[in-house]
Amino acid sequence: MLRYVIKRLGGMVLTLAFISVIVFVVIQLPPGDIVTSTLERMEASGMQASDEYVQNLRARYNLDKPPYLQYLSWIYNFVQGDLGYSYIFSKPVNELVWERLGYTLLITVSAVLFTWIVAVPFGIYSAVRQYSIGDYSITVVALIGLATPNFLLALLVMFFAWEWFGVSIGGLYSVEFRDQAMSLPKLLDLLTRLTIPASVVGMGGTAVTMRILRANLLDELNKPYVVTARAKGVRPVKLIFKYPLRIAINPFISTLGLLLPTLISGEAIVSMVLNLPTTGRMLLQALLAQDMYLAGSFLMLLAILTVVGMLISDLVLAWSDPRIRYE
């Protein structure tokens, strides 16, 4: 097991190194940079920048160096925890990203929980009662859930909450709590409100997971070891939970890893619609303004979140399936 963990950790570091290069290239792609856009602004407001000023500016953002050195200094500082300086907010990136990232993590984890809480019972039901009316209804709902863009779902939920209940569900806190310090009622309020983004973000993933669980379980239900267990007198409910489900859950855990990029993507756009203080909106602003340190940090941190999540799901899988652990 330890060897497996070390192997996976090594793989993760390598993956992250690749990702950092991709992220750096991506944020360097747009023509122009912070300095050129600063100069454009200054010119627009009728100011003239001296050559010396431009040189200083370029030096300050390391833009006078060749790209690979820029990359190295960026990643060097990044690893040290210095995420650079946001040009549009005139603040160190460190002051901007962490709270937002925390909320992103909160919503993503809630979405994962939602996915599990909904997908497992419905998936089991669908498999055990294959071709029943319940199975067909679940399938249809899953198909619709899979086909609905989550921003549209967010809009619809918001629209109906407003039309039917007169509630505004945007934001993470109700109006009365917004400026208060954290307290128990405020926490409860947060948890209640969290269910909406969690379910909206988790919708598509839930549909996928449910279908996968159903298919896996159907495969396993007729395996000889299930019959053996039945033949030795294991009762029906225990039989399903202890035998086929236990195995069907393995690919399910690995799907969770593949689901994470989707969930984090979904979170980015849903949070914009629902007006949540997470990464989505600020990332978009940063990208449009070519605020490279801010955008780069967001992209990199979201990627780290995903990769670490996938690592955890792989480790859980290994813990759950002795065949992998003993490889």
Binding site: N222, T228, R235
Partner: protein
């Protein structure tokens, strides 16, 4: 207490699928004598396994029992008809593994890959008796030793995929016998194993039977194995019983043309350079495909004939 632990009468099973109805068993009749080994022999699709699944009440949709009865008379309780027991009746769970156990064909897949061997054997005990987990594991330990697993102390904590096929089949046998069932059904338990292991497993089953005096239904397509292990033989073909008798009677003096063909097709009996006989079961062969009822021909022998 009668001599027969199981009496199967007029058993009919059919499978309803998209393409139509298949009658898997037609009017199957035979008895399983107490404390003896009864072999059911026949080719694939002859209904051997379906019969076993009916006795165990393991038949799954689309299969359904449409007629007949299976009277089961355990030694210390009243006889009952297995077919008539409701799905949710607790007697079903007593039956499964408690009164009747089964050993399956595929030892490679008959055990769950994610639980330790000891756990899976002990579970059979925990399903039928109120004992502590430790006590169950101790009993499982004994049983594993009895079926010839070496170094049980370590092996009991290993996973099935760390076992060879023969070892796994021993585990499955231990699991089946750990609750001392009165009937053990072996559904081609040696087919998936290689020859030397086959012999070991057969000897094991025979030895355990001599020790435990339980009744065994041994399902196989291999007449050679029948000769080695069985006391009585039931020959099945296309969902019907063709011939019933003691091993000696049937193998020495087969009455039904199919049984004759079956015996002629055993390699080793024919002289060198002679082609091995095949069984002429082509459609229209009146002797074999016409479903004549079983007739008592004396000496306790029954045969399907006009």
């Amino acid at each position: 207490m009668t001599d027969n632990i199981l009496e199967i009468r007029n058993l009919g099973v059919r499978f309803r699928t998209d393409t139509g109805i298949t009658n898997a068993l037609n009017d199957v009749n035979f008895d399983v004598p107490r404390g003896k080994v009864t072999a059911i022999v026949g080719e694939s699709g002859s209904g051997k396994s379906v019969t076993a699944n009916c006795i165990m009440r393991l038949l799954q949709p689309p299969g359904e029992i449409v007629s007949g009865s299976i009277m089961f008379e355990p030694s210390e309780r009243e006889a009952f008809d297995v077919v008539q027991v409701a799905d949710r009746d607790p007697r079903i769970y007593e039956l499964h593994g408690g009164l009747i156990s089964m050993v399956f064909q595929e030892p490679m897949t008959a055990l769950s890959p994610v639980y330790r061997v000891g756990n899976q054997v002990a579970e059979a005990i925990l399903c039928h008796r109120q004992v502590s987990k430790e006590a169950a594991l101790a009993e499982a330990h004994d049983m594993l030793q009895r079926v010839g697993i070496p170094d049980v102390d370590t092996r009991i904590n290993m996973y099935p995929f760390e076992f060879s096929g023969g070892m796994r089949q021993r585990v499955v046998i231990a699991m089946a016998l750990v609750c001392h069932p009165e009937v053990l059904i072996c559904d081609e338990p040696t087919t998936a194993l290689d020859v030397t292991i086959q012999a070991e497993i057969l000897t094991l089953i025979k030895d355990l039977q001599a020790e435990l005096h339980n009744s065994i239904i041994f399902i196989t397509h291999d007449i050679g194995i029948v000769a080695q292990i069985a006391d009585y033989v039931v020959v099945m073909y296309q969902g019907r019983v063709l011939e019933i008798g003691t091993v000696r009677q049937v193998l020495k003096d087969p009455l039904h043309p199919y049984t004759k063909g079956l015996l002629a097709a055993i390699p080793g009996i024919v002289p060198k350079n002679q082609r091995l006989a095949t069984i002429a079961t082509s459609v229209g062969d009146a002797d074999i495909t016409t479903p004549y009822p079983l007739k008592d021909v004396g000496d306790g022998r029954m045969v399907s004939q006009p």
